[in-house]
């Protein structure tokens, strides 16, 4: 009998695509079940307004989850995403309000600084061979501190200069949702169809084998963390645009929500297995759950208990799925 780890190694080349198909089916079912349940429990849940509101609320979570999928695929983790988001937002607000920059350069500076922080995490992880868990934990603190420092710990009102990103353009859908969707499609193609994506899966499966095959995994690792940072910067722009304000406390605890969404989508915390499309379903499940519970008026403790339970159940179901995948292979 083959164990799942033996089973995945030889077929690593086809694993991501196949995983996406099998996983998505189950996830879509779970999502539909939740929508049906909330529609029964609430009088106005099943409406176009609910879903368009939801779509305009989640672009930040969507792009963060894409970055986190890549990070988990290479066997890393990034706990600093929420703080980096706050830092990028703070940079944007300071550039616009403090230095009088116009929107575009301020936005680019925000995203650039987030990408820089990401590559810092990646570089330190690679240079001293420290687990990214602890490096990103340190960066979490530093980025949050820097955000407070920059903004003097005050929420800044940025105004509607960026509002076009989150104002609906057609059918109640905003450009930020469309951008996030494009990021998802692009990232899935990169992960499944490019050599770069293959290398990431291989690094997560067996880094030593990659090195012995003559490929230096280190630049790939740094690049993945830089990408995570860049996407956190993009998420910050979405948030600043939607809320018209930059909050130095933004995104605190967001990393756990992001990781939960990615893991619900079936990406392995151990690396080597993941799909961006499934991650998108994970994001939808987490967000539909939050919106639905708020709409039926569930109390705060109930919300937390149910959300936590859904995460645990999803991971349990995932163990069955990966066992079955192993057998098929």
């Amino acid at each position: 009998m083959k164990t799942s780890s033996l089973g995945t190694a030889p077929t690593a080349k086809r694993a991501p695509g196949r995983l996406a198909f099998g996983t998505c089916f189950g996830l879509a079912g779970a999502l539909l079940g939740m929508v049906a349940l909330f529609s029964l429990l609430s009088s106005h849940f099943l409406s176009y307004a609910t879903f368009s509101t939801l779509a305009n609320q989640i672009p930040d979570l969507m792009v963060l989850a894409v970055g986190m999928t890549f990070v988990l695929v290479i066997g890393g983790i990034d706990l600093s995403v929420g703080s980096v988001l706050a830092l990028a937002g703070s940079v944007v607000s300071v550039a616009m309000l403090g230095w009088g920059w116009s929107v575009l350069p301020a936005a680019l500076l925000g995203m650039g600084s987030a990408a820089l922080v990401g590559s810092l995490t990646g570089s330190i992880t690679v240079a001293w061979r420290i687990p990214s868990f602890i490096v990103s934990l340190g960066v979490l603190e530093m980025a949050r501190g820097a955000a407070y420092q920059l903004t003097d710990s005050r929420t800044a009102y940025v105004g509607d200069a960026l509002a076009w990103l989150s104002d609906p353009i057609a059918f109640g859908i905003s450009p930020s949702f469309l951008i996030a969707l494009a990021v998802i499609v692009l990232a899935q193609l990169v992960l499944v169809r490019t050599v770069f994506g293959r290398y990431l899966v291989a690094i997560g499966t067996n880094e030593e084998a990659v090195r012995l095959a003559g490929v230096d995994p280190r630049p790939y690792r740094i690049l993945v963390f830089a990408l995570m940072g860049l996407l956190a910067g993009l998420a910050a722009l979405f948030q600043v645009s939607r809320l018209e304000a930059a909050d130095p406390n933004a995104g605190s605890g967001l990393e756990l929500q992001v990781i939960a969404a990615v893991v619900i989508g079936g990406t392995s915390l151990m690396g080597g297995r993941g799909s961006v499309v499934s991650t998108f379903f994970g994001v939808l499940i987490i967000s539909v759950l939050a919106a639905g519970l708020a709409q039926i008026g569930a109390s705060e403790p109930t919300k937390r208990i149910i959300t936590g339970a859904v995460i645990v159940i999803a991971v349990i179901i995932d163990t069955y799925r990966s066992r079955r995948t192993g057998r098929w292979n």
Binding site: L137, A294, Q295
Partner: protein
């Protein structure tokens, strides 16, 4: 996330004692320490800055040491700070407790050590205080009264029977409970229908999510009452993205700087100002009075009330 080892805390405590002892030799002004909740929160930062400015104006009256914790819910860290302050022999302690019950034992130790304690911001639980036979004056605003002012003003713009939603702060905090109660009082008096009360955890983004859910669930919603201005900011953007600007009124609380443009153009109808910058100063003034041996001017409830004012925007 890892706490420093006990040994390190001890070493730090010893260092703190040595340091403060050497400073204390040179000082005869009373030493007042201000222990805040999260200095990441704009509200507490404003308070601390106010206290600093006040100290600069009265440099000969007292020496000020301010401390805060990283995270508002990190009660353990705040207890450790108070322990350090006891060791460093301060004369008075002005504290915004992170938890209204858990801080009582360490405050008792401070008082047993002869330190004068004044409670600001979040009121210590009167029941727990009584069980330890402690009397700690509370200096602060009446959040319920402030919320009532905001709610009454909002009600004057609505009709009886209109549906409204309340976005609450962290439900375990007294301030959140008091503000919600004040909003409820006002809505009940004006016969409004409160259709939903949900927590936005004092945050913009969470407030936004909860406001959006309410707007979807209740198409006839006429107003959102937010327990602080951050959540009101979130509610404003929820109203905008729901395409219901002008149909749903938003009110907040605290009068933070970022709310000013919203008040100016009517996106936020009203807020309340309880003079955050002066809260710590009121506390310090009371502490200095008590250090001189005077009795503080408390009401029957052992409270020194500070002002709360309604702030309204475009008429």
């Amino acid at each position: 996330m890892h706490l420093p080892s006990l040994g390190r805390i001890r070493a730090l405590a010893v260092l703190a004692v040595l340091f403060t002892a050497s400073v204390a030799c040179a000082e005869d002004r009373p030493k007042v320490t201000l222990v805040m909740k999260s200095l990441a929160n704009e509200f507490f930062l404003t308070m601390k800055d106010g206290a600093k400015a006040y100290q600069k104006e009265h440099p000969d009256d007292f020496e000020l040491v301010s401390n805060g914790i990283k995270d508002e819910s990190d009660t353990g860290a705040q207890i450790r700070i108070v322990e350090q302050m006891i060791v460093s022999r301060v004369d008075a302690l002005v504290i915004a407790p992170a938890d209204s019950k858990a801080l009582v034992p360490v405050i008792k130790r401070a008082m047993d050590a002869g330190i004068i304690v004044i409670n600001i911001d979040n009121r210590l639980d009167p029941g727990v205080l009584a069980s330890k036979q402690l009397s700690v004056p509370f200096v602060g605003p009446d959040n319920r009264k402030g919320a009532r002012l905001v709610g009454d003003y909002l009600a004057s713009r609505l009709k009886a029977g209109d549906e409204v939603g309340i976005i609450e702060g962290v439900p375990t905090t007294t301030n959140a409970q008091q503000r919600t109660a004040g909003f409820q009082d006002a809505m009940e008096a004006a016969q409004m229908k409160v259709v939903s009360v949900q927590s936005g955890n004092w945050e913009i983004n969470k407030g936004n999510a909860v406001a959006s859910a309410m707007l979807n669930e209740y198409p006839n919603l006429k107003a959102l009452l937010a327990g602080n201005d951050s959540m009101a900011l979130g509610a404003v953007s929820a109203v905008r993205s729901a395409g219901r600007s002008g149909q749903v009124q938003v009110v907040g609380y605290d009068n933070i700087k970022a709310i000013a443009p919203m008040l100016a153009d009517g996106r936020v109808l009203a807020s309340a100002d309880q003079y955050a910058a002066r809260q710590a100063v009121f506390g310090i003034e009371a502490a200095l009075k008590m250090l001189k041996g005077e009795k503080p001017e408390v009401d029957g409830d052992n409270v020194i009330q500070t002002p709360v004012d309604l702030v309204v925007g475009k008429q």
